[in-house]
């Protein structure tokens, strides 16, 4: 694959560093008055999300990474993989493993669209949208006047996620949830 020289570094560039697909977050050129110029680069590892920094001598190159971030529709899980399909009409499918699906598995709903990062066409990371609407699969009927837990009770959603909900929520209700915080937002009319 192609490579990028330090003078081409910019935020968002997808590169391979130590064999890992990374995105450049920040690129700072540092040059002392009578000295060599360096690039101080902050990366995000696209596989594990880790943010880290390395300094390069100006003029060095690093390998470009074949990374794409695309929208894909969730199809189903087969116990080992989670299957997604491209939304561009091609019907192409990919299978994400446990490390790629990671926390996103709490928020999966069939036919909903998720952001998938593909590296050499294999999924390495799946991100849910900021809000999802999921049905309550399991919850206790909230007894009126029961304020022992401050007016909330746990509810298990169809995806398996457990969220704190108000006492009036019933099985079958569809809830809007913030995937970043895991917090109940409101009930949605079906």
């Amino acid at each position: 694959m192609a490579s990028y020289a330090t003078n081409e570094f910019k935020s968002g560039l997808k590169v391979l560093v130590d064999g890992e697909p990374c995105s450049i977050l920040e690129n700072e050129v540092v040059k002392p008055g009578k000295g060599q110029a360096f690039n101080r680069v902050k990366f995000r590892n696209l596989r594990n999300g880790r943010v880290w920094e390395r300094t390069f001598k100006s003029g060095e190159s690093i390998e470009a990474a074949d990374v794409m971030e695309i929208d894909m529709e969730y199809l189903y899980a087969d116990g080992e993989f989670w299957h997604f399909m491209k939304t561009d009409g091609s019907f192409e499918q990919v299978a994400a493993d446990a490390s790629a699906i990671s926390d996103a598995k709490d928020w999966l709903k069939e036919q909903d669209v998720y952001q998938v990062i593909l590296w050499n066409e294999a999924p390495i990371s799946v991100s849910p949208p900021n809000f999802v609407e999921l049905e309550v699969a399991e919850t206790d009927p909230g007894l009126k006047g029961d304020t022992a837990q401050g007016g909330t009770k746990p509810a298990t959603l169809s995806s398996g996620a457990v969220v704190k909900v108000p006492l009036f929520v019933n099985i079958g209700d569809v809830l809007r949830v913030d995937t970043r915080t895991g917090e109940y937002q409101n009930r949605v009319s079906k």
Binding site: V29, P32, K34, K57, E60
Partner: protein, 307 residues
């Protein structure tokens, strides 16, 4: 932008008043020359006339060489506010074309010149009580190493423990500069002088023993808000030593695959004729304006930055 234009105008006027009061004469020397610097880390702009039979000329990377020729010719104390041109990296602190306030004081020691820089900064930036640290003292205090004595092997190891840098072919100066930039500069006070640099970082300054007898470069850097603002020297006056340094640079340029450049024979001739003992300093006006206007990027203080 209009605010920074006004600021530049008032700083220029104030700087001129400062030098007039001290009877330091303003000079203008050519920006174009037939030779250029040998420094391996400086890239000058080569200019060509449309007529191909004309030899190429170079834009100055600083007014240093021409001003030293004036000093050797008996100018006395002089200053210049001049554009300098350095091709290569653009960063939030660098624009390829920038402005230097550069001045020379025959008979001044390095300490005398630091005093004068301090006076100018008090006038322009209203900063007082500026501490001074030696390079060695900073490395000993913050990193527990002696930059003048540490072996390259150990320095490389220490640097790699603290900074993720994998590049090959880095020399002692590179490692020290990386450590200075990443580990020491962020811990410097708002304004300070750093002086007595390692011998290898002497450039055009005199190398002389420090209080412990260690040969150090009689050079200082003035820092403001973490930025190098002014670089000062006790100027090298020995023509033979200067020529030797230029030749070493040319060898290094060849090793690094950099183009050879014509050495400034006129500067060397001036040194041979006799440069009076003097201290000189170059101050970055644009960065001073950044400090004054609380700008994070040099683009904020330059009317039409390049790129």
């Amino acid at each position: 932008m209009p605010e920074s234009l006004k600021l530049r105008a008032s700083v220029l006027a104030e700087a001129r008043r400062f030098f007039a009061e001290r009877e330091v004469m303003e000079v203008e020397t050519p920006l174009l020359g037939t030779s250029t610097v040998t420094d391996v880390h400086l890239q000058s702009f080569e200019v060509r006339a449309h007529d191909p039979s004309q030899l190429p000329l170079f834009l100055q990377t600083s007014p240093e060489y021409t001003m030293k020729r004036l000093l050797a010719a008996g100018s006395g104390p002089i200053y210049q506010i001049a554009k300098a041109f350095r091709a290569g990296e653009r960063s939030r602190l660098h624009n390829p074309e920038f402005t230097l306030i550069e001045w020379y004081r025959p008979g001044f020691s390095l300490a005398d010149l630091m005093d004068e820089v301090q006076q100018l900064i008090a006038r322009l930036l209203c900063r007082q009580n500026i501490p001074r640290y030696t390079y060695g003292e900073l490395f000993r205090k913050h990193l527990n190493l002696d930059p003048h004595a540490i072996a390259l092997q150990e320095l490389r190891q220490r640097c790699k423990e603290l900074i993720d840098v994998r590049s090959a072919d880095l020399d002692a100066t590179d490692y020290l500069q990386l450590l200075m930039g990443k580990k020491i500069e962020p811990r410097l006070p708002d304004s300070c002088f750093v002086y007595e640099y390692p011998e290898a970082q002497a450039a055009l300054s005199v190398v002389a023993p420090d209080a412990e007898g260690v040969p150090v470069a009689q050079r200082f850097e003035f820092y403001v808000d973490g930025m190098e603002l002014a670089n000062g020297y006790l100027e090298l006056t020995d023509a033979a030593e200067q020529r030797a340094r230029f030749e070493r640079d040319l060898v290094r340029r060849q090793q690094l695959g950099l183009p050879a450049v014509p050495v400034d024979e006129e500067l060397l001739a001036a040194l041979e004729a006799g440069l009076p003992s003097c201290a000189g300093v170059a101050l970055g006006l644009d960065r001073l304006l950044m400090a004054l206007g609380q700008e994070r990027d040099i683009c904020g203080v330059i009317s039409y930055p390049l790129g």
